[in-house]
Symmetry: C2
Subunit: 161 residues, 2 copies
């Protein structure tokens, strides 16, 4: 059935972020759409941010393009240059390798909802992906699914599936 | 600027469909989002369907996953099994190679708006893509950007960029 039955797809607020970086994403409830729907060319997530929640720590990807479609509510997009309000129908894109970290914060008093697409060679090739960097905290994400400090010291947790 | 300024991106209703298959998509106004925004891992389009317009002739892809997010208005998704109403926030997916043609028809009296993502090896590899098939008309689309009848006879027009 091409129209997804979102209620039938598991929703989770799991994160692999080590403390204390996990706290701001506790109100991020997401559904991975590709595995249950058979998509293999790109990843997709349906995300609900509760009031106050962050979409992630502010980050950029070395080898994965991202595109976000705002569906309901509003959120603040934070980047190096500042803040931008995203409203339903707005689209934001982050081509891989542009070293300008981004995340969304729901500063409203209602849930906001968006769909985010991620694609890149880590979805399809054997070479290790390049990982990426968090802008505001002492953390990197690595191609093997781990987290390290910027000096390479590993954190004990892993990225969630 | 990650938030796209849609008004600054060219909008077109161009189609490469040969007559008479081009008539139902004259009210399909779309913007290609990847070229102006630097995305290379997948293609994305912002589409406005005027009342009565079709998103395409009903088709499926041999080698390209598709995902659609409904943003505003309503449309009817038509497939082999029948009709499904899509409303804002609904998501539909079409994994490549499933031979069940789909398209959307705006049967309402207002514009509808959606964002559609397409990914696949034709975005990234040298091998010719597999093309695909239109369900209801005597037409195929080929990996080299052309159209033929189902017996292989070429049509004179080409897919639009």
């Amino acid at each position: 059935m091409p129209k997804l039955d979102l209620d039938a797809i598991p929703q989770t607020n799991a994160t692999g972020y080590p403390p204390p970086f996990d706290a701001p994403v506790q109100g991020r409830w997401y559904r991975r759409l590709a595995p249950p729907s058979g998509l293999t060319d790109f990843a997709a997530s349906h995300v609900v941010l509760k009031p106050g929640a962050w979409s992630s720590q502010r980050h950029w990807h070395g080898d994965e393009d991202e595109l976000l479609v705002m569906v309901a509510g509003t959120a603040v997009l934070v980047e190096d240059e500042g803040r931008t309000i995203l409203s339903p129908g707005d689209i934001a894109v982050w081509p891989k390798g542009i070293c300008n970290g981004h995340h969304l914060i729901n500063e409203s008093e209602s849930d906001c909802v968006f769909v985010v697409i991620g694609g890149g060679p880590n979805r399809r090739r054997a070479d290790p992906p390049a990982g990426g960097t968090y802008s505001d905290i002492d953390m990197l994400f690595t191609g093997d699914g781990g987290y390290t400090r910027k000096d390479g010291t590993p954190y004990p947790t892993r990225r969630s599936a």
